[in-house]
Amino acid sequence: MKPNVSQYLQKFSIYLVLLVLFVVCSLLSPYFLNDTNLINVSRQLCVGLLIAYGEMLLIVSGFLDLSAGSVLALAGVLSVSSYKSTGSMAVALVVAVSVAVACNVVNAFFVGNCNVPAFIATLGMQQAARGIALYYTNGQNILQLGDFVNIGQGMVGGIPVPVILVIFVTIVVWYIVNHTRYGRGIYAIGGNRSAAEASGINAKASIYKSYIINGVLVGLAGMIFMARNNAGLPNGATGYEMTGLTAAIVGGTSFVGGIGTVSGTVAGAFIIGLLENVMNLMGINSYIQQIVKGAIIVLAVSFDVMSKGKKTKKVIIVKENKGEAQMPAGKNP
């Protein structure tokens, strides 16, 4: 049985959607294809993409992170204030990444060691990290960041610094997911944790690794976010975890676990980003934009689930048939 056209279409449907959307956008608005606009779009996507990668890794292994936005803010303001007192970008980077990683180690501890559902554990972290950020800054924004802004606003050879950074991160994440034992392991854990563990995969270690990688990504996102705003905003990036989750899900990451790709996530983020951009260019009311985004998420996932549903129906029959054969043997109550 060779994969037929419709299977190819399904496999690459997300990229097709992106392509069609791109063409439609360029037809809808004359400004869309401007260099400045495209650069703007990619710059705007950076923070969301970093978070989306983390969410993708976690959803694939059957977890998620609701604390990304808050941890981003906490890591960002601490990074900004350490930069202001030392003037060292290196220190700022270390602070941002280690704070975000620390928060995520706490997440991993509750999820991995205490078996708290990831939803709950990271929901707690969402509140706590935001609280710490506000407490630390006394609710005040930190202004005048000086050269710190370069990491968000600078350009190298006509390409924004954050875009270069995110391209680099994308390659690293892609490599980790596709070419390491850890990467292969998370698909197994998300697909069937007991089976993965029975095959010698250390699920707990993988949970820690996933949250730590997520922490690194969120820390970087925190720096870029603050630099772009030229301020340390303890109240910033609220709800960004949802932006990340949306990109991952629209990009074909399955909430059931075990399925998701880096390239799909990039496509998902671009689909959302392009939509937003073209609606802005066309001057569409921002409230309406929100309605459209909501609809897109549900439609994208319904499409995904329904197209898989056709397949799974067959699988269920096979399974039931197997179950039939198994039941009489059944030695386990």
């Binding site: 197994a188 030695k331 109550p333």
Partner: protein, 497 residues
């Protein structure tokens, strides 16, 4: 009036690729116990699911009191007076006895409010009538399996069931509880209720059945009065072939000690477990449900901790705390539950195959997918895995092929010791034979194989030696020349120690 309560006529049912039932004819007499016997996959459960309206038959007709009926759902079956006590009981453990009793049909007052007073009153009455001692507001999770079974039967009676199907009702209850169950069945018979009784345990079948129907490979072999049959006849009809031909056993010279387990203990689960396996040897583990065979193997493999004891692999004492350790030490285990602990359903066959040996495909931190695919493909050839492509999701393969992919997973680790827990459960006869052949090849390659199985014939057919466990202890070790079903059953039931 005829005394036939229910009759199924010319039932046929196919699943993609498998003919599950063909031309089934079967009559259930009023107020009798009708036993259904057959091997795994003979079609007993499929037939019951058709009667319960869970599956739709492709062809055929069901008659109740000689009136043709169509049963489209379990609810409809219930309305027609058919209830099923499933092997895996259906109940909500967090709800109370009375809520479970009236699950899905709670009485309501005229205002649409649940009539709890009536529920309590009725529940009390039923429990009392059936002589059950628990309180109506007790949560189900506080009851034993046997209690819940009785409750299920009570529930069936409250539904006015005229036909009760019992699927392996004694598979997880104690002997004393079996006695209670049989008393209940006798009582039901007196009330004119007909019972379809599915069991693998011949003694039980002959103890309570009035009629016995034997199924094999989806067809009815025979229906007779129980008194006209004996156990041997039933077994030979169930199997329908000479057992000797099914097992491709070959004599292999024994090599060094591959695995030695010394005095393994885990409180309340198993104690004083000592056994050994040599290279080139297939060693079986027999025992009844709950004897602790799987638990022992899981501990040896590092999936579960144990309290004390030693595990020696290739003559060296090894500390094993995780499957990862064992795999490194060349000890692997095929789990008994293919779906729960075997396959990764959404991933491809090649990913499923390489999962345990990923280390071999990673050089300098980079996974070599080409090598992974070549190696997996080669092993699939050897294992005779039939898959449309390497990238097919494993969940799309048949049970037998899934099992062979999982065997590939473990063979890619190049193990010295292979523990196979119920390797042939739920797969068809052809695939079973292939797995036996693979086991023979494994020992010819100087590996050691441990086979845990609940099917005695395959243990007798394939093993060089069989350890028998009973209640967490090894009660006997039988050499091939002394093999007999009887001696193993004596050890397994603790009759001999």
């Amino acid at each position: 009036m005829s005394d036939i309560k229910m009759r199924v006529s010319d039932i046929e049912k196919s699943f993609p690729g498998v003919k599950a039932l063909s031309n089934i004819n079967f009559s259930l007499r009023k107020g009798t116990v009708h036993a259904l016997c057959g091997e795994n996959g003979a079609g007993k459960s499929t037939l019951m699911k058709i009667i319960m309206g869970i599956y739709k038959a492709d062809k055929g007709q069901i008659f109740i009191d000689e009136k043709p009926v169509t049963i489209k759902s379990p609810i409809q079956a219930m309305e027609l007076g058919i209830s099923m006590i499933a092997q895996e009981l259906n109940y909500v453990s967090e709800l109370s006895v009375e809520e479970n009793l009236f699950l899905g049909r709670l009485p309501v007052t005229r205002l649409g409010r649940v009539d709890w007073k009536k529920v309590r009153r009725e529940a009390r009455r039923f429990l009392k009538e059936e002589g059950l001692s628990y309180a109506p507001d007790q949560k189900l999770k506080t009851l034993t399996v046997s209690d819940i079974q009785m409750l299920e039967i009570t529930k069936a009676i409250t539904n006015n069931a005229q036909i009760i199907i019992m699927d392996e009702p004694t598979s997880s209850i104690t002997e004393r509880e079996v006695g209670l169950l049989f008393e209940k069945i006798a009582e039901l018979k007196k009330k004119g209720v007909s019972i379809i009784y599915i069991s693998h345990k011949m003694e039980e079948v002959f103890q309570i059945a009035d009629d016995i129907t034997i199924l094999m490979d989806g067809s009815v072999v025979s229906t007779d009065r129980a008194e006209d049959l004996d156990m041997d006849t039933v077994i030979s009809r169930m199997v329908g072939r000479k057992i000797e031909n099914v097992y491709p056993k070959e004599a292999v010279a024994l090599g060094d000690m591959a695995l030695e387990v010394k005095d393994l203990n885990k409180e309340g689960i198993f104690e004083h477990i000592s056994f050994h396996v040599r290279k080139g040897e297939i060693v079986g583990f027999a025992g009844l449900v709950g004897a602790g065979r799987t638990e022992t193997m899981r501990a040896v493999f590092g999936l579960d901790p144990f309290d004390s004891g030693a595990v020696c692999i290739n003559g060296k004492e090894t500390r094993i705390v995780s499957p990862e350790d064992s795999i490194k030490k060349k000890l692997v285990m095929l789990s008994e539950n293919r779906r729960e602990e075997g396959i990764i359903p959404p991933r491809s066959v090649v990913e499923n195959a390489s999962l345990a040996s990923l280390r071999n495909f990673i050089f300098g931190g980079c996974a070599h997918k080409k090598k992974e695919r070549t190696v997996a493909k080669e092993m699939f050839g050897k294992m005779n895995v039939k898959t449309p492509s390497l990238d097919t999701e494993i969940s799309k393969l048949s049970g037998g092929n899934q099992q062979k992919v999982l065997l590939t997973r473990w063979m890619l680790c190049d193990p010295d010791v292979m523990i196979l827990d119920e390797p042939t459960r739920g797969i068809d006869v052809g695939a079973k034979f292939e797995i036996y052949k693979l086991m023979t090849e494994m020992v010819q390659e100087n590996r050691a194989v441990i086979m845990v199985s609940s099917e005695l014939p395959e243990l007798l057919g394939m093993c060089d030696r069989i350890y028998v466990m009973c209640q967490g202890r090894i009660t006997g070790c039988v050499e091939r020349e002394d093999f007999s079903q009887e001696i193993i059953m004596r050890y397994a039931t603790g009759l001999e120690d």
